[in-house]
Every structure is written in structure tokens, then in C-alpha cells.
């Protein structure tokens, strides 16, 4: 289908260009491709197959009529800090050295985009193809001053890294935070990416290029808590080398619009990728999870578990694409999407997309959508447990499968508290 182009992209370009700093860390070819893509294709509407349930064009048009790019500085991040973590802070797309912890971990390097080494320069824009998606293009064209986080070879980071992205504006703004995360051969790290909007109405267009090298392991968490004035598109472009392991758990706590494009390219044998997601939404929220597991080589496995609790008039989407290329024999891929609808007006659209070109693979998917189990409710009621508490217990039980994937105890407690199930 040919997606119709509207002038939203041009309006954004005009508004953002006026105040944007020069993006001189991204090479000219990528920059001009990005601008060309935006000019030619625009921001996707619901006529675009990948954005069928998520008309970002219409949302931006409606919600961001007065884009002023009038940002507000952030002076303290104390309330968001985890006790046992190295904190990195990004304010309105720009890496803040002053708010971030001074890094003293052996084997960990963080370089701002205006201070990239040749290796960093060669990775930037190498994973996220500007010709693939409007939001990659938008981020590339107007990228904030991000950072390259590199874990050297043979390094086991004992302390998790907590990246706090704060968006804050005096009225309406768009920001484009971006990073490169590179885990060296035989290394291991835990990274928590935490997305917050503290003031104003902000559309945050995240982009992260993640490289997980041979035999390396990245445990990654994405906590999305942007509040009712937070709108975001989040692109994760991940590449796994031989025997690499990647596990991401995304907890969608708040945000009026959350669109996640999680693309994992499995390019080395014996690698494994796990994506878990939990969204608890209500009112008129829209949460759209698009995942892609691109199995390019043999003997790899991938797993996906997405769960949603959907209330009021909110809409949830899970679209999981598993792509098994001709050479990717002995692929083992599994996908599961389970949802509870708490209101008659709530919607879930769930769609597995399996494209398999190899003949010796195990791929399967499962999906279920239902209401709260009435017989379980009655059983709890019959023991003297009120409706309210019974509902909390049953929702907690439903969500636990995903929450249990969080192995960092401090983060797990925080999430449980935020979800209010305990």
C-alpha cells in the first residue's frame, strides 16, 4: 500500500529546525537521506500498514499544534535515581555530564556524540536505516547530543547502568534522544533505560542502536513512565553476534502514546534474544508494540512474551514479526501475547507475523484475550476478599509472569510499587 503523505513532517521540520543545534556528528549522507525520506514519505498515518492502529501523523497534528521547542532545564534527578546503579542522564535528548555520575567502572566508557572515536563514528547510523522508518529518519535528522556507551571486551559490569531520559518543556516540544550501546566480546552488562516527562507536552522520539558482540550478554530494561502528556516512539535497533544474548523487559507504566519498534537482528550463530513486555493502560492511552526478530543465521533462538491489561477506552497493540531467513535452519522462535480487557470499550489488536524461509525450524505463537476470571473472583470473594482486593490479586498474578523477568531487585520493587498491585 502506498502511504499518503501529509504536511505534518514539514511542519515538524520547520518548528524543530528553527531551534535545533547543528547535527554535525552524523555523516552528511545519512543526514540528507533522512531529510529526503521525511520530505518524500512524511510521518506515517494509519494508511501505512505498520502504523495501522497508530496514526502518529494524526496524533501529532492534533496534540502538537503549538510546537515551540521551548525547553525547560532540569536541575535535579534525585527522585528518579536508583540506589545501586551508575546513573547517566539525558535531558531533552542531550547527554548531561553534570547530572550524570562520574564513571569509574573499569571497562566502561561513555563518549558524547561530539567526542566520538572512529569506532563510535562507524557504528552511528550503521544499524538504524534511515530509509526504513520515518522515526529513524526524524531522529537522525534532528538527533540530540547522545552518547556512545561502550563496555570493553571481557568485562563483567557488576553494577547496573541506569539511563534516565527526562523530557521537560514549557509548552510543546519534540525531542530526539539517541544512543549507541556496545557490549564487547565476552562481556556482560545490565542497562535500565528510564523514560520520564516532567513538564509540558513532549513527543519524545527515542532511538538506540545496540551492538552485542560475540558471547556477550545484555540484560536490558525499558521503563516507560511519561505521564499523560508524554508521547513517544521508541526504536531499538539491536544486532547480535555469535553466541550473544539479549533480554529486554519493557514495562509501560504511563504515556498517552507509546509506540515501540523493537527490531532485533540475529546475525551470529547460537545467539538468543528475549523480549518481554507489560502494559497497564486506561483512559484513552494508545500503546503499540511492534517487534521484529530477524533470524539470519542457523541455531538461534528467540522468545517473546507480551502481556497487557487494558481498561477504559484504551487501545493496546502487539504485532510480532518473526522473520526466518533461508539460511537460518534450526531456528527456535516463540511468541506469546496475553491480554485482559477490563472494560467493554477497551481494545487489543494482536497479530503474529511469521515469515519463514527455512525448512527445519520450530516457530510458534500463542495469543489469548479475556476478561478477569469470574470464577476466581467469586472464589476470592467467598473467602471474604473484597472485589477491589480480589481484582488487584488477580491482575498482579497475571502481570507477575513479566515482572518476574526483572532480576534486579531494586527495580522490581520500584515497578511493583508503581503498578500498585502490592
Amino acid at each position: 500500500m502506498i502511504a499518503e503523505k501529509t504536511n505534518t513532517a514539514q511542519q515538524i521540520i520547520d518548528a524543530v529546525s528553527a531551534s535545533a543545534g547543528k547535527v554535525n556528528f552524523i555523516n552528511d549522507a545519512a543526514l540528507s537521506d533522512a531529510m529526503l525520506f521525511l520530505e518524500n514519505k512524511g510521518i506515517p498515518t494509519n494508511k501505512h500498514e505498520d502504523y495501522k492502529y497508530c496514526n502518529v501523523d494524526a496524533i501529532l497534528k492534533k496534540e502538537f499544534k503549538n510546537l515551540s521547542q521551548n525547553f525547560k532545564e532540569v536541575t535535579s534527578i534525585k527522585e528518579f535515581k536508583l540506589e545501586n546503579a551508575v546513573t547517566i542522564v539525558v535531558v531533552n535528548g542531550n547527554y548531561s555530564e553534570t547530572l550524570s555520575d562520574k564513571i569509574i567502572l573499569k571497562g566502561l566508557h561513555i563518549n558524547s556524540f561530539n567526542n566520538l572515536d572512529d569506532n563510535g563514528k562507524s557504528i552511528l547510523t550503521s544499524q538504524a536505516d534511515v530509509n526504513k522508518d520515518a522515526f529513524i529518519a526524524l531522529n537522525t535528522a534532528f538527533s540530540g547530543l547522545g552518547f556512545h556507551l561502550k563496555v570493553e571486551n571481557n568485562t563483567q559490569l557488576q553494577i547496573p547502568i541506569h539511563i534516565i531520559y527526562i523530557s521537560s518543556s514549557n509548552d510543546q516540544a519534540i525531542t530526539n534522544p539517541r544512543n549507541i550501546i556496545e557490549i564487547g566480546n565476552n562481556s556482560e552488562a545490565t542497562i535500565i533505560e528510564h523514560q520520564i516527562t516532567v513538564q509540558g507536552k513532549v513527543f519524545t522520539n527515542f532511538l538506540s542502536e545496540k551492538l552485542i558482540k560475540e558471547n556477550a550478554k545484555l540484560t536490558s530494561y525499558t521503563i516507560q513512565d511519561q505521564g499523560e502528556n508524554g508521547f513517544s516512539v521508541n526504536t531499538n535497533q539491536v544486532k547480535l553476534s555469535r553466541a550473544a544474548s539479549y533480554e529486554n523487559t519493557t514495562i509501560m507504566l504511563s504515556g498517552q502514546l507509546i509506540r515501540n519498534n523493537h527490531n532485533v537482528v540475529i546475525s551470529g550463530e547460537n545467539a538468543e534474544a528475549h523480549l518481554n513486555g507489560l502494559f497497564v493502560i486506561g483512559n484513552t492511552q494508545l500503546v503499540d508494540n511492534h517487534t521484529l526478530m530477524d533470524h539470519q543465521v542457523p541455531n538461534c533462538q528467540s522468545n517473546e512474551l507480551y502481556k497487557g491489561i487494558i481498561n477504559d477506552k484504551s487501545i493496546g497493540v502487539f504485532n510480532g514479526k518473526i522473520f526466518v531467513r533461508k539460511d537460518a535452519q534450526k531456528t527456535n522462535a516463540y511468541q506469546s501475547s496475553k491480554n485482559i480487557l477490563l472494560s467493554d470499550d477497551a481494545t487489543i489488536n494482536t497479530k503474529p507475523e511469521l515469515e519463514i524461509y527455512a525448512n527445519d525450524v520450530k516457530c510458534s505463537h500463542g495469543t489469548s484475550t479475556g476478561k478477569i476470571d469470574e470464577s476466581a473472583m467469586f472464589y476470592l470473594n467467598a473467602r471474604g476478599i473484597s472485589n477491589e482486593n480480589a481484582k488487584i490479586m488477580l491482575l498482579n498474578a497475571f502481570a507477575e509472569e513479566v515482572i518476574d523477568k526483572i532480576t534486579n531487585e531494586e527495580l522490581k520493587e520500584l515497578i511493583q510499587k508503581k503498578l500498585g498491585f502490592n
Binding site: 476470571d373 469470574e374 470464577s375 476466581a376 467469586f378 472464589y379 476470592l380 470473594n381 467467598a382 473467602r383 471474604g384 476478599i385 473484597s386 472485589n387 482486593n389 480480589a390 490479586m393 488477580l394 498482579n396 498474578a397 497475571f398 507477575e400 509472569e401
Partner: protein, 253 residues
Amino acid sequence: MITIKNLHASVDGKEILRGINLEVKAGEIHAIMGPNGSGKSTLSNVLAGKQDYEVTEGEVTFNGKNLLDMEPDVRAKEGLFLAFQYPVEIPGVSNINFLKTALNEKRTYEGKSSMEAKDFLALVKEKQKLVELDGKLANRSVNEGFSGGEKKRNEIFQMAMLDPKLCILDETDSGLDIDALRVVANGVNTLKTKDKAYIVITHYQRLLDHIVPDFVHILYNGRIVKSGTKELALELEAKGYDEIKKEFENTPV
């Protein structure tokens, strides 16, 4: 303790209970027997407040209050306990957490403070012993993966923990082997006091060898057609339900 007057109830517009009258006093054990489809489980579900049942006529007074006006959880907090015929499996909800919530909600309702963790665990230990329930089961999800016997013992364990005034045992003997039956009955007998009352719903007489009733009622076609003492159960066992059916089949409703 509980007075049921002319209770009529329907499911999906079909009348199942057609005028039940029953009075149970503190300290008494009443057995309700009847063939399949006579309305035994409907009666227990209606008393516990299950939504699918519609009470069309009659009244139920529980300790001087109108039971039918209460939400199911309030009925439980007031001291009514239903031991389910088919206990529900609830994956992800731990037995212990479930019991703690239930117990503390009841205590709050009674104006008492929540139980200390230490006292709660001591109580769990004591009551588990009563029904010979494996300690490991308490830490598992509610009824998940329990055998039929374990589920029934778990019901009696919950009953022991919550200390209700009126216990309704809905076919607690179904699916139990003779040893489990003995354990369950032993639990019930140990818990029996002069302040508590029991309504034991069963298809077979064998449970009543272990839990001896003061009164036996025969339910047929949604009404109690015959009442007597424990000898009635023996008579029923000897003659079978066919006699009852023949005798009351054509009784006008």
C-alpha cells in the same frame, strides 16, 4: 443461626430452587442429601452469593441480618464459609498471600488489627497439621496443580484459618479416597464447637459415617421433601434415590 424461608432461585431463567425452608441453629449439623440435579449445589452457591443465580422469592436471615442483601465477601466476613465442590485454581496467587489477605480483611471488618506475620505463620502451621496438608502446598499458587484430595483438604484448611460460624460443605466427599475422607472429616469434627453450625451437602451417606448429622434433609426438585435424623440417611442409602423420586415425582410445585 440461619433461617431460610421459601427460597426460590433460578439460573438463566430456569427455576432450580422452588421454596426451600430450613433453620439451622448454632451447634447443629444438618445434612442435605439428594439426587443429581435436585438443587444441592444451587443452594450452596445462592447462600454464598454467586452472581449467576437469581433469587426470585423468599428470604434468608443470617445471625439476624438479611443475607441476600450482602455482597459475597461480606457474607464471608460475617462468618459464612462455603467449601467448594470444585475449588478454583488461581495461578500466580500464592495460597499464603491469599489467606493473609482474607484473614486480615475479616479482622479489619471485625474492628481488629491485622495479624502479625509471626502469629499468622504459627496459625498456618497449626491448622495445616489438622488436615495433614503438606507445608509446601501453602507456598504454591491457590489450588494450582493440587490433587483432588489436596484441594478438598485445602478447603478445610482455609475453613480452619478463617474460623467461620456457618460452614457449608458442598459435596466435600466427592472425588475423595477413604483416607482423604477420614482426614477431612477429622478436621471438621475437631473444628466443631457449640457456636458453629454445619450444612453438609452430599450425594452419599458415607461422609455421614464420619461427620454425624443431627438432622438429615432430602432435597428433590428444588424443595426439601423429607426431614429426619441420621437414620433417614441410612434409609436412603438402603432404598436409593429412586424411591424418593417415585414418591415425590408428581408432587405439585
